[in-house]
């Protein structure tokens, strides 16, 4: 099995992006956007999580099977959210 060597500069770039997105999250929270505040915060969080999964957890450089398992984790998370909301959104 071969291992992909990630240059250190990539890690620093990803780290800088994460810090930048953190600043954006804080600033966005201070802007009154009504119902859009939460979706924007969650979207930024999703981008940050994706960066971590792809680069820090090496999924971008991993074989397809590892990618399938990583995607499976998110699919299961989606199942948990979807079925929980099938209750929360339809409660009277």
């Amino acid at each position: 099995m071969s291992f992909h060597i990630v240059p250190r500069s990539t890690y620093f770039k990803v780290f800088a992006a994460l810090v930048l997105l953190l600043v954006v999250t804080v600033l966005a929270a201070k802007v009154p956007l009504g119902v859009f505040n939460t979706p924007i915060a969650l979207s930024i969080g999703l981008v940050k999580a994706t960066l971590i999964v792809l680069y820090f957890m090496h999924v971008r450089y991993s074989p397809p099977l590892v990618r399938v398992f990583a995607a499976g984790g998110f699919l299961w998370l989606a199942i948990m959210f979807a079925l929980t909301f099938s209750d929360v959104l339809t409660r009277h």
Binding site: L83, T84, S86, T90, R91
Partner: protein, 542 residues
């Protein structure tokens, strides 16, 4: 009586020092460590059951007060679910057999495997510590806001114990998945794998995908209880039903963590003692995966009367009906495997047949509970208690005991006494049914669970249940005695005493430290039994 020793070097006599066990990375020795540990936990949980079944002999609370009773059933539930049933077959039989069944020397991550045992023991010590400190009274389900706000018992330590033990489960699942993917012997394609391996693969998926959710959920309870961070408490804007969603997202699939490995054991035993190829191999293999996946879509059937929406209830009810299909496929296929087989009734087969009957009853009564209207009537009654014990004890424990007897010669190199084995299997079957069948009736008549007092008309059925529990207890003590006896006095076992197929039977009993002298090459399908071959099953001993 003369005691014969082993002629060959094996994993048991490779090193006798105590530390050689505590620092071992041999999957077989780790399996033995797990077996000893979960046996101790089983008897701790069983002792609590003895006490509350004694209490329930009379309608009045004359042995314990309500608070003590609540702590007893919580102790029983937490210990039996998290420290016995969940690790039982995967951590003992799975650990021991999986590498051998695929022709490997060990699991993919041997040190991680040892770490998982230490983590499990740490979780166990924390849970037992919580019990010694006075226990918790929330039930094994830790429902909020009672657990997070109102109870004065040791919820935090108990929940953290379960939290820690969860990591052991995740690591075991991860180890199995990687091992099955990467370490199969040459020629051992996916559809040549023993069904035990398929079952453990499906189980491992649940362990890896589900366990983190229970871990974080219990941590949230601890945070709310310990630090007042509002998550589930409605007074602070939380949602107590969120806890139930998160809890059951794991804890319903956890039932399949208990039953799927047992199903894998049954497939091996039924094929061997019917001397027949497993009927519908692929159907059984894929039904394991189907159970693992669909099992994640049904959790809301625990919440029909919780205030969950009717729409969600309908969705979960439908999904719950669906999960019965792959379970039924397995039962039909095992039955078809028996058809025209040369069936012999050794102890493992008695457990397997017991499993099939009891699991079927447990599964069918699960359909009652998945039906919205019936569930309203029987929810939180003894009907539910009976149902899940038919699955977890009638299913999972019968499978575990069947597997322990089936592979005992491989694990220890000794045969157990067959007559005692059959006797105890019979006692357990009778004791189990006498304990739990009356509980179906009690529940249907309206006796609620988790109460220490009840109205007088329920006494006869409760006495029957307690009498059954005492028989069941004797049934469990007999194997404990004769299996320990057999370690020294049991006749030496041959490499393949049952004439079974499978790579684990091609190595010596007990196996050498690295299982195989040479990596085996697989050239045929699993379960290549010739129907009618019965001689082998009558020559178990060297």
């Amino acid at each position: 009586m003369t005691v014969q020793g082993f002629a060959h070097r094996n994993y048991l006599n490779a090193d006798y020092r105590f530390r050689s066990w505590l620092w071992t990375t041999d999957h077989k020795r780790i399996a033995i460590l797990y077996m000893i540990s979960i046996t101790m936990f089983f008897f701790v949980g069983g002792a609590a059951a003895v006490l509350f079944r004694l209490e329930l002999m009379t309608p009045r609370g004359d042995l314990t007060i309500a608070e003590t009773y609540n702590r007893l059933f919580t102790l029983h539930g937490v210990i039996m679910v998290f420290f016995f049933l969940i690790p039982s077959i995967p951590a003992v039989l799975g650990n021991f057999l999986l590498p051998m069944m695929i022709g490997a020397r060990d699991l993919a991550f041997p040190r991680l495997n040892l770490a998982s045992w230490y983590i499990f023991m740490l979780g166990g010590v924390m849970a037992v510590g919580a019990i010694i400190a006075g226990g918790a009274d929330t039930g094994w389900t830790f429902y909020t806001p009672y657990s997070s706000t109102y109870t004065n018992t040791n919820v935090i330590l108990m929940a953290l114990g379960v939290f820690v033990a969860g990591f052991s489960s995740i690591l075991t699942g991860l180890n199995f998945i990687v091992t099955i993917h990467t370490m199969r012997a040459p020629g051992l394609t996916w559809f040549r794998l023993p069904l035990f391996v398929w079952a453990h693969y499906a189980t491992s998926l649940i362990m890896v995908l589900g366990t983190p959710v229970i871990a974080i959920t219990l941590l949230l309870v601890v945070l709310e209880r310990g630090l007042g961070i509002p998550i589930f408490d409605p007074k602070m804007g939380g949602d107590p039903l969120l806890f139930q969603h998160l809890f059951w997202f794991y804890s319903h699939p956890a039932v399949y963590i208990m039953i799927l490995p047992s199903m894998g054991v049954i497939s091996e035993i039924v094929a061997c003692f019917a001397r027949n190829r497993v009927f519908g191999y692929k159907f059984i293999a894929f039904s394991s995966l189907a159970i693992a996946v669909i099992g994640f879509l049904v959790w809301g059937h625990h919440m029909f009367v919780s205030g969950q929406s009717v729409y969600a209830g309908m969705v979960f009810s439908f999904m719950s009906m669906l999960v019965a299909v792959p379970s039924a496929i397995k039962v039909f296929n095992w039955t078809a495997t028996l058809h025209k087989g040369a069936v012999s009734l050794e102890t493992p087969m008695l457990y397997a047949l017991g499993f099939i009957g009891l699991f079927t009853l447990g599964g069918l009564t699960g359909l009652f509970l998945a039906t919205l209207a019936i569930d309203v009537h029987v929810h939180d009654t003894y009907f539910v208690v009976a149902h899940f014990h038919y699955i977890m004890v009638g299913g999972a424990v019968m499978g575990y005991l069947g597997g322990i007897h089936f592979w005992w010669p491989k694990m220890t190199g000794r045969m157990y006494p067959e007559w005692w084995g059959r006797l105890s299997a019979g006692i357990i079957f009778i004791g189990f049914n006498l304990t739990f069948f009356p509980q179906f009736v009690l529940g249907y008549l309206g006796m609620p669970r988790r109460v220490h007092e009840y109205v007088e008309e329920f006494q006869v059925l409760n006495v029957m249940s307690s009498a059954g529990a005492s028989i069941l207890g004797v049934g469990y003590l007999i194997p404990l005695a004769y299996l320990i006896w057999s370690l020294r006095y049991g006749p030496l076992a041959s490499a393949n005493p049952w004439g079974a197929t499978g790579l684990e039977w091609q190595t010596e009993s007990p196996p050498t430290t690295f299982n195989f002298d040479k990596t085996p090459v697989v050239r045929e399908e699993a379960y290549h039994y010739d129907t009618g071959l019965t001689e082998a099953s009558h020559s178990h001993v060297l």
